[in-house]
């Protein structure tokens, strides 16, 4: 049985195209291959619009900064603002809370007290992890598996853990963070809560998503959200 390519049939000899002379057989081969290749290319190209339609929209250009007026936010209270689809906690920390944040005994319980890991912009790489100590701005997504931690600012001797200084407690697997978003040792979460790029155009306006003039920080450069 002669083989002349994919169109060969092994049926009755009266109508099989394989019974031609080798010369025409070679020409038919080329034509067959060319037609199949051209047709195949067309079918493959036809899949392009389908795949193209799955492309996510251009989100880069459509993200304006979110302005938040905190003038009416009392000390000790927190508001949650949505930015890039994520919750952002804006906490008005009391002077007592800020004092507790600076204690060495607290730093000893933290995994990354000096914010060595890149989880915040350079202008927030300080003990209060913010531009001004009074207002804390952190992305409220636990760095373990992504739940939203609850706000527990009041110090308590027993709950949620012994000698609780005040901060955030994640309900899912028990990760704890202080009021600057720094993670406690022993928590399943590996990193501090991220601080988003933000600026304060006025002392009581927080603009999330924009950097203060002269600084530059890309939120996608952090270690892990």
């Amino acid at each position: 049985m002669t083989t002349t390519g994919p169109l060969e049939t092994d049926n009755s000899a009266t109508d099989s195209p394989a019974s031609d002379s080798p010369a025409t057989g070679k020409r038919r081969d080329f034509l067959t291959l060319l037609t199949l290749a051209a047709g195949g290319a067309g079918v493959a190209a036809f899949s392009w619009p389908f795949l193209d339609s799955l492309r996510p929209g251009d989100s880069g250009a459509a993200r304006p900064p979110v302005d938040v007026d905190v003038s009416k936010l009392p000390p000790g209270q927190q508001i949650t603002v949505v930015w890039h689809g994520s919750p952002v906690f804006i906490t008005h920390r009391t002077p007592q809370a800020l004092e507790r944040l600076q204690q060495a005994s607290l730093a000893a319980r933290l995994r990354d007290p000096s914010s060595a890991a890149l989880q915040q912009p350079p202008y927030a790489a300080n003990w209060h992890r913010s531009i001004v100590p009074a207002y804390g701005v952190v992305v409220g997504i636990c760095t373990h598996l992504g739940c939203v931690p609850t706000y527990s600012p009041a110090p308590d001797p027993t709950t949620p853990v012994a000698n609780w200084p005040g901060g955030y407690a994640c309900p899912c697997h028990g990760s704890k963070f202080d009021l600057a978003g720094r993670v406690f040792i022993g928590a399943p979460a590996p990193y501090n809560l991220p601080v988003p790029p933000y600026a304060m155009p006025t002392p009581t306006t927080i603009r999330i998503g924009a950097n203060p003039p002269g600084t530059d920080f890309d939120f996608s450069s952090i270690q892990q959200i």
Binding site: L7, T9, D15, G39, P49, F50, S53
Partner: protein, 412 residues
Amino acid sequence: MTDAGSRDRPDEQEKAGLVPWLDARLPVVSAFRREYVDYRTPRNLNGLWNFGAILTVVLLVMLATGIFLAVNYTPTAAGAFASIEAIDRQLPSGWLLRSIHVTGASMFLAALYIHLFRGLYYGSYKAPREVLWLTGLVLLAMVMLTAFAGYVLPWGQMSYWGADVAGKAVDAIPGVGPWLEHFLQGGDAPGDVSLHRFFILHMVLAFAVLGVVGIHVAALHVTGSNNPLGIEPRGAGDTLPFHPYYTSKDALGLILFALLFAVVVFFLPDVVFEAENFRPANPLHTPADIEPEWYFLPFYGILQSVPSKFGGLLASVGAILVLFLVPWLDRSPIRSARFRPLYRACMGVLVVCFVLLGFVGRHHAQGGWMIAGRIAVVYYFAHFLVLLPLSARTERGIVLPDGIAGAGRRGA
């Protein structure tokens, strides 16, 4: 299991593992070879026999584009129009997917009408192919319902008012009409409930069509294809293996069809896009000219030509139902119109009537169109109910050729 002994011998062809392994457990490969490679097909098929394959390919294209459109579509009265505008404008390649889908609906029904005509003309509905014919008509009804439901989805002016007119047609049924309309519509007027239902109906029916196509093709492969002479093949000399003869011929037909399809999609969108449907649905403003898509116009013409509302509905639905009876109305042993001079003339008049009814529908059966429409409706039903049974009487004494090969242009 002790009957595995016959399977212990290796496959005769000695090809390596996977294909014979699979085929021994689920004979897909050998079935494919039997039904689409070696399958004996009459050697004298003409271009009209391409349309089955064309319809299958267009169906697959419609399902694919439909899925990708549905992924981006919002089936609510408030959001439908805007979601389709978003597909058309902002979704990458969305305009192309939508254009292919909209044009595909018209191309599909055009091919379907040609395919149906072929069946009527060449007697493909006669024994032993009655089930093939009936499954085909079931497919016609399903496709028409699918197309109608699909047209409602953009929720433009024509979508809304087309659904409203259809509701009024159901309302015209004596007795149960108003209740049935209210029940099917889920309310007083087309709205969120009916739109949801049309959406699901459209998707489910489209995939059901695919299933019934499988039954239709299975029925075909039991009897084999008819041919322009209407004479059954007598032996291998009258037939050819499907591959490579009809694969190559179908491929050519498909490419030419695709060419026409592409010209409409890219250069003549006005032919398939109804301008009025670019206006969002407004229940308080009826457009000046409500009319269905072109493929429904002949039935719309029938509907409008009959004086009573319910009578019109009966006549237009009856126009499809009468087709189901054709294998039993036409008792002539001669299949193909090629050898039936009276029947051939009748078919010509039928086609003219059908197109004429389309124009009647477009002109809403006003004035002279009403008279033309009534004549055409009378002829349409007379063709099937009177002329078809009687034509057998004029065909006594017609001599058919000996066989396909013998009657071919050059002979065996």
